[in-house]
Symmetry: C3
Subunit: 338 residues, 3 copies
């Protein structure tokens, strides 16, 4: 993929070297995200943030990433109030709104809508989630987190990884996307832990196997966690079930807490989760008693979202090499409680 | 009108030379809107964007226009949550909110409300639409588009124009405002095409005639389009009808598509529409098959909204002559797909 | 209190010298708030504005205060759409969102929620109102206004003040907080004017008396106003009553208008109100005929909110001494109608 000017719509656009390029640029964004330096490389640029479905953290994460590069953000949230309800086509919406900004991030409840919008847009569009379809920046930040956590343990790269995915593998968009990304790497072991009714769709299992990966399916979490480098837990996607009561049957089926971790996991197993985790007693998929476990990577994962989104903006707008030349030191209090 | 510090509430404030001044300044904003240059002339200024009624594109267009001049935007959208529901007067709201910004753009569902607010405001207020009453920046961008499109065809000025207005001329606020603006010019032919029940209000027809213009009314679109320079189509304003079913009777009554255009229009007839156009099959007032017609000006019209709004801000805040001195080149990818 | 890096959660954190420090810094913010100068001291900093309960003016006031210091603002408004509805704990929300900004202002309907959030936040958090509990910046701006108005009359300081509080003293959070602040000063006379059913909670009266202040309770406004320096009126907090009809009984019980003012008040008595005032005929607690009374301080009070919030940001982010070194003149029209 050539990044400058590109839309980012689907993980299918990415080859392995594209991903590696995003990650290299993301690493370079760390001084800015951690407020050791600020950069004004996108001073004067405007991000159009079009969230036709709400997602506070994705929206704020993209917005902050753009601000951290020095740009401005104009936002739309919600659906009812837009011209789409007056019969406007996505084509027209795109033609108009893309005249107002330099790049757009869009979220929309309907699969395929962002690609349709992008086809008529005059500026690059990033898919911030189109229903059950894709959410590429989430998949990238997950994989980036895996690489970074392993590197922290002294391991280079994703090849040879052993990962366990736990919970609602049927409806969980993030685990689907992550599996697709993993097909670009070598010799991965994927352990899929779910109730029988919420198994990973067979076509995704097949893609993993076609890539030469080893796939194990299980409905027993404890027995399956002993050898994984990464334990990736997910929330039951109650909103995707035909009836809410059925979803209730599965909430709390798998609960990873410190006792389970100590007994069954390797001492360095990294715990991930796309967030939000459901901390109500009847769900509690990742217990709060893990909060002091240094291998709980879920908040670093969210922080990495900023780095990956900054990298995507810098690549699409072709300013990677200028980021540091527009930089200066931070002059306010930044003693963060990490 | 003296611009610096003025409220922009109604087209009735404008004389012909004021309009020409706005258009001259709008022309000078093009390098910034098209991202060939950026300017920081309003660096540090704050726009208060108070949308007590939602209108995504008007809100975003004003916000981007202000950002493009280097300023910041603080927004309020919606009505329920405001102090107005606790019995606060518009006077008090204005006194408080006008202490928070350098200029305000306000939209409100109630006719006259923006003027009432402006009377108590300590900073200039732009009317972004007050119910069925006025929406001056829309009228200005429409007229600016007419002038620019004609100029592109080698014609100077609006005098002598022939324009057809099509559709819901009874409730369409934009065509009412445009007619009022046209009374400031000479020798215009206005062809009003609508169902008999949705005719242009007689007082507006009378204003056009008093200005010396020729007005023709018709309910037959095809027969009336042969001689117009501009075909200005409108959406049935279903939300203004007493009952929604009545509005349905008129949707789709006039449909301009490429076949009609080829058969009945001049080869250079410019097609305009205030947007959103209703692209659902039962309405489809401007067919999508016109999208490749180079005379379809509807998206250039939306783009011109940015230029006109930048011009209004620059005039009101008295920075027109400083815009270029605070400018520099753009350093990011801007290869737009126009 | 040491300001740099501190959370601002409750007035109980403040000693008298802290308050005096805030007020000294607030005074220094005036040239920027009044647009005689701009400062870019927080250029590159991001405020996370998290309003899980709506409050237009508090939100916009904080946002503008941050913009006036040169920083950017990313906002969240409303509750329904957030991850909290998917069972996320405030701890998790805080851990994630605090990775996106340099400082957070948060409002939430539930008492104690902001403190819970702050405990997990990695950046300083300002309480923008947590239900019936606290709203420290409002209390500070009220006291700052008192000091400033008295100073304008040639009096130094708050010691020896005589203040009357009028209306719903049972549910009015602002008068509760103001009373707590007054316990840090000496020799204050507090006249509490309310219907018997809406009297100031006895524990607050007790706190005032323990501080050595004189407290008088009355249900007769006219007889009680003759000796006060400050008349602080409040709105009936209808939304806090168990049933709305009961609240109606008290609306309009006390009405301060110019005739009452002339007959019963000192010629320099300052009129304050936390706003919004309920200007509907059946309430009308502060009549519009007071708008020309130079001692009506209610809009200066709102303006002071900007100064106090700028001061809090400057203190927390430790840039007080740098504000002026990052300043320059304003180049746009600023002839305000004060």
């Amino acid at each position: 993929m050539k990044f400058p000017g590109s839309h980012i719509l689907s993980m299918a656009q990415f080859e392995r070297r594209d991903i590696e390029q995003v990650f290299t640029v993301a690493d370079r964004m760390e001084p800015y995200a951690h407020r050791r330096r600020i950069t004004k490389v996108l001073d004067g640029a405007i991000l159009g943030s079009m969230f036709f479905e709400s997602s506070t953290r994705t929206r704020v994460s993209f917005g902050c990433a753009f601000n951290l590069l020095g740009g401005e953000v104009r936002e739309t949230t919600g659906f009812e109030a837009t011209s789409l309800t007056k019969g406007e086509s996505l084509h027209d919406t795109a033609r108009v709104l893309s005249g107002y900004s330099d790049v757009i991030v869009m979220r929309h409840p309907q699969a395929g809508s962002v690609a349709e919008f992008a086809a008529a847009s005059r500026v690059p569009v990033i898919n911030g989630g189109d229903g059950a379809n894709e959410h590429p920046s989430q998949a990238l930040l997950d994989l980036y987190t895996i690489q970074k956590e392993l590197k922290h343990q002294g391991r280079e790269g994703i090849d040879g990884l052993s990962i366990g995915m736990i919970g609602d593998l049927k409806y969980g968009r993030t685990v689907h996307s992550l599996c697709k990304l993993l097909t670009l790497f070598n010799n991965v072991t994927v352990t899929l832990i779910s109730p029988d009714e919420l198994r990973m769709p067979p076509e995704i299992v097949e893609q993993l196997r076609s890539a030469g990966h080893r796939v194990v399916e299980s409905d027993n979490m404890e027995q399956s966690l002993s050898h994984v480098d990464i334990a990736y837990a997910t929330r039951i996607q109650a909103e995707r079930f035909a009836n809410a009561e059925e979803a209730m049957l599965y909430r709390g089926r798998y609960r990873l807490n410190q006792a389970v971790y100590t007994q069954y996991c390797q001492p360095n197993t990294v715990i991930m989760h796309p967030l939000p985790r459901d901390s109500r007693a009847e769900a509690n998929e990742l217990d709060n008693d893990l909060n002091d476990n240094p291998n709980l990577a879920i908040f670093r994962q969210a922080d990495n979202g900023i780095l990956v989104r900054m990298a995507l903006f810098a690549l699409i707008l072709d300013v990677v090499e200028q980021v540091d030349t527009h930089a200066r030191d931070v002059n306010w209090y930044t003693e963060r409680r990490f």
